[in-house]
Amino acid sequence: MKLELRGITKRFGALVANDHINLTVEAGEIHALLGENGAGKSTLMNVLYGLYRAEEGEILLDDVVQHFAGPGDAMAAGIGMVHQHFMLIPVFTVAENVMLGHEETGFGGHLDLPAARRRVTEISARFGFDVDPDALVEDLPVGVQQRVEIIKALSRDARVLVFDEPTAVLTPQETDELMGIMRQLRDSGTSIVFITHKLREVRAVADRITVIRLGAVVGEASPTASNEELATMMVGRAVDLTVDKSPAEPGAPALVVSDLTVLDPHGQVLVNSVSFTVHAGEILAIAGVQGNGQTELTEALMGLQPRVSGEITLDGSSLRGHTVRKILDAGVGFVPEDRTEDGLVSEFTIAENLMLDRSHQPPFVKRFNVQLSFLAKFAEDKVKEFDVRSQGIDTLVGRLSGGNQQKVVLARELSRELRLFIAAQPTRGLDVGSIEFVHERIIATRDAGTPVIVISTELDEVAALADRILVMFRGRVVGIVPGDTPRAVLGLMMAGETPTEEGAAA
């Protein structure tokens, strides 16, 4: 089905999120939408999907003007959407999530769960997914949740499909599979809008590219354009896509983890006797498919996991069994994986968030009193230093874009005397400009002699940052390999295959 958006304008108060945007997606075309964080991509798609009502403009499907009062109408017209922020109900099973809104029922509204299960397995089979229809969504790794979102959209036989950053949480293999599916769908005549920040993907799959900046279309690009060209178009300035990184000068072993095991409340092993060492002045990247124990490993290091055995020492003193506060005070900096959930209090101001994990000691607090003028000056400095774009230090963090939120977390964690820095998925969902900035800061931290652990599912990121790479699979260490290990090898390791000799030597 052919989709046409004409002159869409959407305002949030005084902010014009979409400014007379025109976009045409032909039937059987994958159309990529590029733009910085906050450029207005999601907003445009939400207008298309009936979630927002545009102030101006119209939506045409096969040249017929549509009037959507809500997502129901959009879906009925054949539009499906895989949302950037998952629209899944955590306490429902996969089948329930998929059937919600178009339930098949028997007598008296009785849910026909078997039918829903069949549907899930059928679509899973068609696209090669491995999804258990009876699993609770909240128990699933994010990558699988993403598939559920896709199944949800596909189960409605949508003929226009919007993918809003579907790959942010997928592994390279998963991403490749997804792109295969998109091609498959395209070939069967579905029009696809594909939003991503990863230029590699755009060039691999898109038929046409539209770039949006500050709410307006800045132009079209061809899939053959270089990364630099695309990035420049998006950001409006030249972006250095490869971060300069000098070779590491590792010092003494700083963090020594031996035989670390983490259990979940049911006694299930999440991290299985993991041992490794991080030296001062090096970056150890922990790679792996989402859900293979990396999260739990970092949480165990931070004292956030209750059932832990094994030993963790930092500069010779043990960290295991200490409270989070003690570990933070010992000089561990931590960027959690989910910044809105674990890293920030969105209803706090930037300034308040900057003192979040130091609310118990000078210089932020003296004799129970928060030192407001100190905090203001500190925040002002950090906002400048980390280039947090906001209306001032009293802006609520929840109103910042994702990239700027992440900068606040980084600013907070990197402004302490650190003896260890742990960053989990530090650039998830960020645009190229922000990624560049975050990577620079992480390397600068290493160069200052701090041991750094970066947890990432993103091979590009791992390649850009790692001095050594630890690959995890099913809670175990598959191997620790040098930072320049080829993608292909890493990909295999992430699937559980032990590395070849040359890799294991590192």
Binding site: P71, G72, M87, V91, G109, L111
Partner: protein, 408 residues
Amino acid sequence: MKSWKTPIALAIFTLLGFLLLVVFGRDGESTMRLSTTTDLIQLPDVVLPTRPTGIVVVALLLLITAGSGWLVRSKAKVPLWLVTVFAVLLLVGFLAWASADHTIPVPGLLFGSLSLAVPLIFGALGGVISERVGVVNVAIEGQLLAGAFTSAMVASITQQPLLGLVAAMVAGVLVSFVLAAFAIKYFVDQVIVGVVLNVLVSGVTGFLFSQLLAPNAATLNSPPRFENINIPLLSEIPIIGPVFFRQTLIVYIMYVAVACVYFGLFHTKWGLRLRAVGEHPQAADTVGINVARTRFWNVSLAGAIAGLGGAYFTLGSVGAFGKEMTAGAGFIALAAVIFGRWDPIRATLAALLFGFASNLQNVLSIIGSPVPSEFMLMLPYLVTIFAVAGLVGQSRGPAASGKPYIKS
């Protein structure tokens, strides 16, 4: 890894049991009457020698405690049924102790427990539905009271208890309308509306009671009550029959309501959508579910059910409206909702537990208890605290409950 919580709790209770049943054991005989005079099948009274019973019970408790300790040591979970057996044993021991040289009519004890629990169950069902769809319902008390008042008045005027029942539902719905309108349309804090509604309903019913019902009691406050209906066969099952199947229509409606709400919530389209709206309204919105409408009508439904609970006071139980006659039942129902983890069956069990503790207290104080009345009256509340702290622990409610859904 290992959680010693259960064995420790069991050990503490065993110790308490030992102190009460053995150290402070009483001599004499405890009689438990299992049948009512009207039963077809007459079971003989169970007569237990008080002190030996206590000793045996404590021995068994000790055994279970040891067993649970062993289980935990060998990294197994203590099964729920074992805890249940423990609780039942402790209860039997306690009953025997308390009724030394007295008779406890078991069916009567249970019957009364159910009667005290009925309004709580209706209220809790209303609470479960309302909170599951994302609207916190602190106004259960108000819905109960409105239902009680309206049903009494309408049934008195029409002399039709069934019409009274309908009126009670309408009254509950009206209270819900206010809650829903303010909470859903005008985004007023749901707890404010709930708390205020309780005051409002108390004021309105109190006022109308003084002005209308009290002076014209014969015409406006003498509703015909529902008759008890004995279900053939079922009502003759020993113990169970007299307790559950010689009840009024309202109680039978309650059984159906519990079953329907349970089935509906977890096995129908209605329930799926309702829960979706309460968990993640935006996700529900994206699949075409009208969040506001779903909330509005289900909150109204919740009001109707709670209204039925109100009608139980007047049409099922006591046959006339009295000021503030719900006496805090709505708040206990609210506690039952949370205690029951927002699950209709569990909430019902929680309400029954409360009813049982209340009526046990009644019976014990009647057969003469050495404990001052005030401490006896505390019993149900203490039992609830112990149960919540010891057994239930952390509970998680519907994620979006209490949060207004504001659309662009």
